[in-house]
């Protein structure tokens, strides 16, 4: 059976100095009338590393940092991902050559992009067949354990980009503020948040609950399905669905925050990978920054509503879901 394979979106950018707030989002592609989740089907993921040293980071150091980042994603309990370093290559991390390559490239024209991930996918199934990650050597980098002020941490940025490589899009679980010259991140609780902290920060080496829920939603085993639950429902405004609303589930017992989005015109949302027990739901517009960091720009994302809490405690069952929750929001 012939498969139509094409290059699909460069989905993932980490923008150097600004942006949005709040949850995990899976990458997908349209197949006919439905959206299928992008995911690897063949494991281990075999990858190469570009054999190129840059100022402050050798190819070997880069490889070690990348291997560590892969390892943290693979170590998420009750998931099934794995990877294998195949070797160094002279090839650049570009799509379409049949090899998954991670490495540095000097792209000074991308003055707000630290790194980006590209995919080659089977558009009939959503299977990822190749993915490449370039790290922009126009910025200063480091692999020092404690981080180096003024240099971006390879392991932290690799953690984010490998999340994309595995099929995760951006999380909106964070807050920003507007300043002269752009937005600044105040805080984030997801490695998959689209904006990096300042150079030298190493916080993104550690996966957060939102990241873990996201990767588990794609690659979770039956045990994961049995041990966690989901909430689903709709976000509505004046009786009509809200597209692109960011819904956050907060577990008041553990403090974990996991988010999701309403992804259709009727305002439907699903958040999976939640710990069983009471959860609080909060809904907010995606109005802190660049919507294109999360969605196709052709989508009519509604940001004209006020932040609100749901007035009921939502109880997540073990191995099941709480459905038909309606989050009513008011226009601004």
């Amino acid at each position: 059976m012939s498969r139509r394979i094409k290059l699909a979106l460069a989905a993932a950018f980490v923008i150097a100095c600004a942006v949005p707030a709040a949850a995990y989002l899976k990458l997908g592609t349209r197949v006919g009338n439905r959206t299928v989740t992008l995911a690897w089907r063949q494991f281990p993921i075999r990858y190469f590393v570009t054999n190129r040293d840059i100022d402050g980071v050798t190819a070997q150091q880069f490889r070690t940092a990348v291997e560590s980042a892969f390892g943290k994603w693979h170590a998420v309990p009750n998931t099934t991902t794995s990877s294998q370093f195949v070797g160094f290559t002279q090839a650049n991390p570009v799509s379409g050559d049949g090899a998954t390559v991670l490495g540095f490239q000097n792209r000074p024209e991308l003055d707000r992009t630290l790194a980006a991930t590209n995919f080659f996918i089977d558009t009939t199934t959503g299977e990822i067949v190749e993915s490449d990650i370039f790290f922009n050597s126009a910025f200063a980098w480091s692999t020092v354990d404690a981080g180096v002020t003024g240099r971006f941490d390879v392991a932290s940025i690799a953690q984010h980009e490998i999340g994309h490589l595995l099929g995760l899009s951006h999380s909106a679980l964070g807050e920003t503020e507007l300043r002269s010259g752009g937005r600044r991140v105040l805080g984030a609780e997801a490695v998959m948040f689209p904006i990096a902290f300042a150079a030298g920060d190493i916080n993104d080496r550690t996966l957060k609950a939102d990241d873990i829920a996201g990767i588990s939603d794609i690659y979770g085993t039956a045990t994961f399905q049995r041990q966690t639950g989901s909430v689903s429902g709709t976000v509505t405004k004046n009786g009509r669905g809200v597209l692109g609303a960011h819904v956050v589930a907060f577990n008041p017992a553990s403090g974990k925050l996991i988010g999701g989005f309403s992804l259709s015109d009727d305002g439907s949302f699903v958040i999976a990978g939640l710990e069983p027990g009471p959860q609080v739901l909060r809904v907010e517009p995606l109005d802190d920054g660049d919507i294109s960091s999360f969605f196709d720009e052709t989508m009519n994302i509604d940001v004209d509503f006020k932040v609100a809490f749901y007035d009921k405690v939502v109880v997540v069952p073990r191995g099941g879901g709480t459905r038909n929750i309606e989050l009513k929001v008011q226009p601004k």
Partner: protein, 235 residues
């Protein structure tokens, strides 16, 4: 008890006229005296209302990892303060007396307290709100009950009780069930409305219920006050 019965029988015999003088009449049959209730083998059933105290589940903020360039400590997205309110419920119990003082009792209690989670101080100014849920809490327990000497002409009987039980807490929709163990220590008073062997009474008690498991945000045991008032019937 045996001495009492023998003495009573003797009195009947002494008081009876000679059989010869009673020709043509059926002599009255000696009746067995009723034993005072309660006694070994007595049963007691009760049903009534129950109050259970609430408890605090603590405060917790929804924390984001702060960008070190903007300050120290976590960035609070919003705050939460959770508690389980006190609840009114019902209970039913049955007790079997092993002696006049000692009884073994089993029963079930149900209460429907409300879980309240107050949400406040939102970083994006979401209005403060208290999210709620009604829990249904069952306790199936067994107790040992010791009755002290009655007073007020035998109508008032103080007692103490202690025992353990099984907790079954259901969240709304019954989609999640949390179980645990309960221990309790109670003290109360039974007030009998008559002195008949089979009689009604009322019972009031108060004490402490120690919960290990069931619905809670933390591990370990939690003590809550409980009180109840019931109608009782002994036979």
């Amino acid at each position: 008890m045996l001495a009492f019965c023998l003495a009573f029988g003797a009195a009947l015999m002494l008081g009876a006229p000679p059989a010869a003088a009673q020709a043509g009449r059926t002599p009255p049959r000696p009746t067995r005296p009723a034993r005072p209730t309660p006694h070994a083998g007595s049963w007691e059933v009760s049903g009534g209302f129950l109050w259970q105290g609430g408890f605090d589940l603590g405060d917790r903020s929804a924390e984001l990892t702060r960008n070190p360039a903007t300050g120290t400590g976590p960035f609070d997205l919003f705050g939460s303060a959770a508690s389980v309110g006190s609840g009114i419920g019902a209970q039913g119990r049955i007790a079997g007396y092993l002696s006049r003082n000692l009884a073994i009792e089993g029963g079930a209690r149900i209460t429907r307290p409300r879980l309240n989670i107050a949400l406040s101080a939102d970083a994006e100014a979401a209005p403060d709100l208290t999210a709620t849920e009604t829990l249904t809490q069952y306790v199936f327990d067994g107790s040992v009950v010791w009755h002290f000497a009655p007073f007020r002409k035998g109508r008032a009987v103080p007692y103490v009780a202690g025992g353990a039980g099984y907790i079954r807490d259901l969240h709304e929709g019954n989609g999640l069930i949390e179980t645990g163990t309960e221990y309790h220590a109670m003290a109360g008073l039974k007030w009998w409305l008559s002195s008949r062997p089979r009689r009604l009474g009322i019972r009031g008690e108060a004490g402490l219920s120690i919960r290990d498991g069931g619905f809670d945000f933390r591990e370990g045991r939690r003590t809550v006050p409980v009180a109840s008032a019931s109608l009782i019937y002994i036979f």
